[in-house]
């Protein structure tokens, strides 16, 4: 993919993945990597930032004799995700209108 992924877009994608169900680092990275070409080392700071801003929280769960860190979307994170989704739709419509020469129906 030739389009660079912005930090805000990564934040919202990670939030959306965790919003489906609580999940752990590796699964998040695999999920994101199935859509865009980013490395685990790019996603670690994203997760840290989301935790710091209290959009995600973590808890440890035992898995095969070791601890696995699970991520969970906070109420604040839910709100942020809603806002991100609204923003994305708007952004996508605007770009589509020009790039795909579509009429913007719901702007």
């Amino acid at each position: 993919m030739g389009f660079p992924i912005s930090a805000g877009l990564l934040d919202s994608m990670v939030l959306s993945v965790v919003d489906r169900e609580d999940t752990y680092g590796y699964e998040i990275t695999q999920f994101i990597r199935s859509a865009v070409d980013v490395s685990e080392s790019t996603l670690y700071p994203v997760l840290k930032r989301l935790q710091k801003n209290e959009l995600l929280e973590t808890y440890d769960k035992e898995y095969m004799g070791r601890n696995r860190r699970y991520y969970h979307v906070t109420p604040k994170g839910e709100k942020a995700l809603e806002e991100y989704r609204r923003e994305w739709k708007k952004h996508k419509n605007m770009v589509d209108r020009i790039l795909l020469e579509k009429g913007g129906e719901n702007t």
């Binding site: 752990y24 590796y26 490395s39 080392s41 670690y44």
Partner: protein
């Protein structure tokens, strides 16, 4: 490179970079999980995905506001113009820089050595004072208790009172001693860690130069 080699090297690089202990543990936990969840069969592949331990460590350090080379100006130049920065990196006389630093350390030794001695002496004095207070409190406690037991057979109420006072003293002593010992222990451990870190960094920087 397998998981253990990769993670060991990463931890050492983060420690050398001066990252806070809990941040190191956080990052190590994350990347260890990535390795484990990717599976033992894919360790080399995972390592390749992450880049070299040096690259990853530099990235983590930069994300937490530490510039691995210890030179923020250089980092900004590198960001502005990568090709030019690579050239200057090769030309920077690391050797002369560390030599002059060493010279300064040696020349100023009469000042910092005596200062260090003075600080050590003060620390020792405070330690001794604390120790003597603690010993005094305990001694009072024990002698009162023993005296109380002896008096118990002659003047019963006075004996009880003495034993009570003695036990209070011992209890107080214990309350002072436990946190003080804990503090001293922690202080010693962190001081030792800092010292070994410093020596390690110094030695490795000399080795590079």
């Amino acid at each position: 490179m397998n998981r253990l080699e990769y993670l060991t090297q990463l931890r050492r690089l983060l420690e050398d970079g001066g990252l806070a202990e809990d941040e190191i543990n956080d990052a190590m936990g994350f990347y260890e999980e990535i390795f484990l969840d990717a599976g033992a069969a894919h360790e080399a592949e995972t390592a390749a995905n992450l880049g070299s331990p040096e690259e990853l460590a530099n990235k983590i350090l930069q994300d937490s506001g530490i510039h691995p080379q210890g030179d923020s100006v250089f980092q900004m130049e590198a960001a502005a113009d990568p090709s030019q920065a690579r050239d200057t990196d090769n030309n920077v006389p690391h050797n002369g820089n560390s030599l002059s630093k060493l010279l300064v350390i040696i020349i100023t030794s009469p000042i910092w050595f005596s200062l260090m001695c003075a600080f050590a002496a003060i620390a020792l004095a405070i330690l001794c004072a604390l120790l003597s207070i603690i010993i005094a409190v305990f001694a009072t406690g024990f002698s009162l208790t023993i005296g109380g037991i002896v008096t118990l057979f002659t003047v019963y109420p006075a004996g009880i009172a003495l034993i009570g006072a003695g036990l209070i003293c011992i209890g107080l002593g214990g309350m002072i001693v436990m946190p003080v010992i804990r503090c001293i222990w922690r202080g010693c451990v962190s001081l030792f860690n800092k010292f070994t870190n410093f020596v390690h960094r110094f030695v490795s920087s000399k080795a590079v130069a």
